[in-house]
Structure formats: structure tokens, C-alpha cells
Amino acid sequence: MSNAATIATSPEKPAVESIKVKVDGHEIAVPRTMPDPITGKPVPTTMIQACEIARRDVPHYCYHPKLPVVGNCRMCLVEFGTPAMGPDRKPLLNADGSPKISKSPRPAIACATPVSPGMEIYTSTPGVKQMREGVLESLLINHPLDCPICDQAGECKLQEYSVDYGQSAGRFVEAKVHKPKAVDLGPRIMLDAERCILCTRCIRFTRDIAGDDALGIVNRGSFNTIATFPGMPFDNNYTLNTVDICPVGALTSKDFRFQMRVWFLKETKSVCSSCATGCNVVVGSREEKIYRLEPRQNDAVNATWMCDSGRLNYKWVGRQDRLKQVQIRNRPGTWTAAVHEIAASLKKAAQGSVAIVASARQTNEELWLLSKLKSRLGALSDSVPRQGEADRLLVSADGNPNSNGARLTRICYTEMGSHIGQIAQGIQSGRIKALLVFGEDVTLHGIGPDLLAKLDLLVVSDILPNATTALAHFLLPGCAHFEKRGSFTNGKGRVQKFMKAVEPPGEARAEWEFLHEIIEQLGGSNGFSSIEGLFNQMAADIEAFHGLKWADLGDSGKTVPI
């Protein structure tokens, strides 16, 4: 199987012939073919795609724009007609000269029926309404009334379509067929077989996108059930995407199970920081607590998917031992005093006596501020590489979300981490007297506690306590990227911004705020006070970012040359 089309940025395609169809009386032009979601080859445009272009909602369960079409839920049934042809193969015309439409005697599923020139699609006729009612009624025959205990309630397509298209009362008086509940399908997935409507989205996703043919349907007739092979857990790194695409509450996340009702969650657009791919996510939070991450569609980065390891990598944000208090030589201090004292000592520092260890987990803006500090102080700087293992879908080998940002802002060199040895030597020889560390535990990367003890000034900003923060002269509590705004440059050079989902704990502040203050005290105002202004100033200063504006980044980001 190939995943290139779903994940990679699609290059400029040759123009596709466009044909005219009518959706509910409105004529629109649609391309004759569209790329297949899996292979990327051109396949005929279907009626449901035409309806989407015409902005007419067609309810559907099994159809998903990024998955192969199977057409088994029958929810997208519509009526249609095609231009009538005479025996001479010429279109018949009405008295007024318009083409005569011969209406199809039976409906068709919009997801699997190709459009043809002059076709007319009817999505809201009485017949279509009756069909939707009928399909919903049969889907609900064996569906339990679990809504009060179902995690999907509130974002359930069965609930939504029942309200929009269903009947108010059920006529089914017989006993419902009962199937297993709370089935442990894998380490992160719980299955409730009763709730399943057998749309097979999960099966197609895991077979065709994740490339792990783990799920299938077993048993016959009413007893059809989603299952894994006996003894084989459903445990690839993309299982939680099946929870997202499950239109009902059959597949639920064990991590989110019974945690919070979805209608309470505040949704914030953000970016995953677990690797250089930078999958677009939506953060679900309530009362300053993050409950879940869900992928957000960005066809240039992650389509509509994300990996489980990235998705579950948020719990440290709410950890109890987060750094919350400014410490000045191991005593609680204030931001004003800390910023003032740091700026005063940096002002006195001789050229070349300062080194900076930044983190490629910091934002472009923060790294740019650090690079300004670097050029002012003639400092040596680097950041720490994080090598992981790449997979064939989304996970990148680079574990830092912003390695390219660190390179573009000239905080580190093409080979990240190559100058840490020099910094260690500088401290050893006494040439480097001050070290600024951001978000990294340098004791693990060749600058041990013995070297740190030699420094006159050690400024450390971090989120969680570690061996370096314990030795800091100035400890500045920072923010997780869910707690501030900023932008990352991903592995392919896509600059993507993220929004603030939750408040930082205690006195913790966004790093760009206090870096900005330190630089202001060193060299006067630099003319911005917000992240927008900071970004725009950085874009003017750094060649690769020229022409970018914070507002123009939008929800899906912009690609820059790297």
C-alpha cells in the first residue's frame, strides 16, 4: 500500500477537465476526477464530493474523505437524474430548450456513484428524507440507549443524524441483540460491540493507512462484531485514530474513558510537539486541565491523523512537580528582581564569556530572541539533538519539534549539538563564565555538575525540575507550548502557529515574555509587546521567514525554504 498521497504535500497536478452538475437545482462545476485517497491516482468524482463542493450536507457514516469507499451504511442515499438521450444519441430537450432529465427510478449511494456531465442530484426530496429515516431506524434497531454512559455522546453522528433526519419514536418492540461490552481490544482501545454500526472505517484505516491489517468483522448477521485476531492485540502506534473516525461510541479511548463529557471541553488549535512532523491538533481542556488531543486536518502535514505516542504526550503538563516559583540563588524571588539582576550581569559580561544552550523545543520567536542575545554578547550557542526512530507514516526521526527553527535562527548549526563540547571546554578553561540554559538538562549532554559549579552565572529556564535546574543561580519557570502562543518550523519547513490552551501554573511565564524583558533592559525597547509583533519582527529579520505575517499563517501554516 502507499501512503504518499495522504501524507505528502501533493505537487501541482495537471488541470483536470471540469464538468457541470446540478445539486438541488444549483449548477456547479466539479472536476471529472479526483485523486484516490490511498493511491493518489485519479478516480471519478463521486456525488458526495460534488455535494460537498456545492455545500449541501449529505449525511454519511462509512464514507470518509481519506479512506477507501465501501458504501455499506446506505445513509448517503440520494436521488439523481441524467440527461435523456434520443435514439440518435443526442440529448432530448424540453419545450424551453433545457435538457430533459430522466430521473433514475431508484436512489443511489452518493459516496460511490460517479458524477456525469449534466447530472442532477437531489438531496432533500421527500423520498430521500424517507430513505434516511428508514436507514436510521434500521441502524438503531440494535443500538443500545447508552448515551448517558457513552463517551461519544455529544459528538456522535448517530445522535446528530437522529436529531436532524431521524424519527422521534422507534417502532421496534422486539428485544435488541446484545453483544459484548467493554471489550479490551488493545492497550489504548476499548470496544463496545453493541454500539457498533459496522461502518468498517476502523478496519479500512488500520489496513490501508496504518498498514496493520489488525481488525476485521467476525460472526454472522445480527451478531457481526469488530474483532482482532485471537491473541493479537490492536496495538500499532495509530490505534487512537480509529476512535476519532468511529462515528459512534463503539471504539473509545482508554485514556479518555469516563474522564469528561465532550461538551465541556474547550477546543484550542495547537500543534503536536513530540517530533519534527508537527501534526496539527485540537487540545480539549476544561478548567485549565488538558483532557485529550485530537488531530486537526492539515493535508500538507498530517491529513487527519496523528500517532498515539504524540497524542498521549500531554500528561506532564499537569504534573504536580512543575516549576512554579522564580528562584534566585535557591531562594524564592520575583520576576522583576530576576530579570533586573540577569540583565545587569549580562551587561557587565565580557564579549565571548557567555554561552547559551537553547532547546529545539522552544518556539521560533524565543529562539530568535536568544539569537539576538547571542549576537549582542558574542556568545557561543547550541541546542540538543533528539534522535528517535521514524516510521513510514507520521513519526519523524527528529524528536525536536523545532529543529529547523533553531537552525534558521542560527542558534545551532546544521549539525545540532556539535558545539556543546566547545561550551564545556570553554567552561573548563574558565573562558565562559555565564551560561543560559533553556529547557534542557545539560548535565545529560556533556556539561556536568562539576562544570556548572565553576560558572559565575547560571540562568536556567525549564518546566520540570532536573539536575540542571537544581544548580541554577536564577531559575525561571517556563511554559509548556500548550500554555503559550508561538510557532514551530517543522521538519519540512512548515511554519505553524499554536494557540494557548491552558494557563501556566503558579508564577510560570512564557519564555518569550521574559526574554523580551531581558533584551529590553540590555538594549532598550525593540518595538513590540505581543507575540504578533514579535513574529512579524522576526520574519523581517530572518531571511527564510521574509514575507510571513503572524495573521497570514492561518490554521495550517506556511512553508518556508530550509
Binding site: 454512559i149 428485544a175 469516563f258
Partner: protein, 187 residues
């Protein structure tokens, strides 16, 4: 759409206010006459004496148990959502919480708090509850020595709420499922 109502200007007698004052005095005198000479009682020695509350009176909301003594609430949090003064706070059980008292109901709240200082006795929680687990009962005079004391927790709410039976849908569903485990399936 806003409707502007013209204010009528007052007439001569209305400007004097005397007829209105006299009308008020008339009501006062009528009550005075009744209670002094006719023996009609219009006050009550509260709190020793209490009203007989009508059916459907909306007092404080409490959680109830079913006929088998199990917690009925399944922590769906609809009451928390609908509550206009935000008096209700529910802590859901999470994936590792206690199993529900009632088999097959899968979940029940780990904690359920109602801030009785915030509650306005509107009854929306009772109306929205899909499990018939919360009812407005006839308590209207809740007192406490601190604000914290008037935040009732799950234990207290269940103790005050008593038992309200019902159809026990989870139990019936489980029984129905059990009958289907034998073959031939008896449906």
C-alpha cells in the same frame, strides 16, 4: 424587537395619591378586622409550625438510590451542564474509577457536589436527568455554619435523597443479554 410603551400622564386624582393611600389602608384594616375580631389567623409560628407543602414543590435537589439501594447517577454530567447557576460539580470516575453500584451501568460519579448556596431550585437538573437519579425534594431551609458546609457531597446527597424506584433499565438490559447467551437464542 423592542416595543416602546408610552407612559400615560397622571390624572388629577392620581397625582394626589390619596385614593391609592386610602385603598391600601382599606386592605390593612380588612386584615386587622379579621385577625382581631374574626379569629382568622394569618401568621404562623415558624419554625415550630411549618407549612404543608404542595405536591410538586421545588426544594433542594438530592440524589436518590434505586429499590436495591444502588446509586442511580451514571455521571453523565447533563445536570452540571444545564445548571444555570453552576451549582453542580461532578467528578467523573475516569478509566480506573470504582465500578458502578449497578451492574452494566458501567460508571457512576466519583464525587458529586451541589453548592446549595448557589442552587436556585429551578429543577432543570431533575428535568434533564436521563436516569431519574436527582429529584427536587421538599427541603427549603438549609442552614450551615460555614460556606463549605453547604456544599453537599455525594454521600450527603444520597443520604438525604432516600429511595425512588424506577424501571431499572440497566438490570433489564443485562437480563436480556443473559437470555441471549444460551442457544437457541430465545428472543
Amino acid at each position: 424587537m423592542a416595543i416602546i410603551v408610552d407612559r400615560k400622564s397622571l390624572g388629577f386624582w392620581e397625582k394626589l395619591y390619596l385614593p391609592a393611600v386610602l385603598g391600601g389602608l382599606k386592605v390593612t384594616m380588612r386584615h386587622a378586622w379579621r385577625s382581631l375580631f374574626k379569629g382568622g389567623q394569618v401568621t404562623m409560628e415558624y419554625p415550630e409550625q411549618r407549612w404543608t407543602l404542595p405536591d410538586g414543590y421545588r426544594g433542594a435537589p438530592y440524589l436518590v438510590r434505586d429499590q436495591e439501594g444502588s446509586t442511580k447517577c451514571v455521571s453523565c454530567q447533563l445536570c452540571e451542564f444545564v445548571c444555570p447557576p453552576k451549582a453542580i460539580k461532578i467528578t467523573p470516575p475516569g478509566p480506573n474509577g470504582l465500578p458502578a453500584d449497578r451492574k452494566n451501568a458501567e460508571k457512576m460519579p466519583e464525587e458529586f457536589e451541589i453548592n446549595m448556596l448557589r442552587c436556585i431550585y429551578c429543577g432543570l437538573c431533575q428535568e434533564v436527568c436521563p436516569e431519574e437519579a436527582i429529584f427536587l425534594q421538599k427541603d427549603y431551609s438549609l442552614t450551615g455554619l460555614s460556606r463549605g458546609e453547604l456544599i453537599y457531597n455525594k454521600e450527603k446527597l444520597l443520604a438525604l435523597g432516600g429511595t425512588v424506584g424506577g424501571i431499572q433499565k440497566w438490570k433489564h438490559k443485562l437480563e436480556e443479554a443473559k437470555t441471549q447467551e444460551q442457544f437457541p437464542v430465545n428472543v
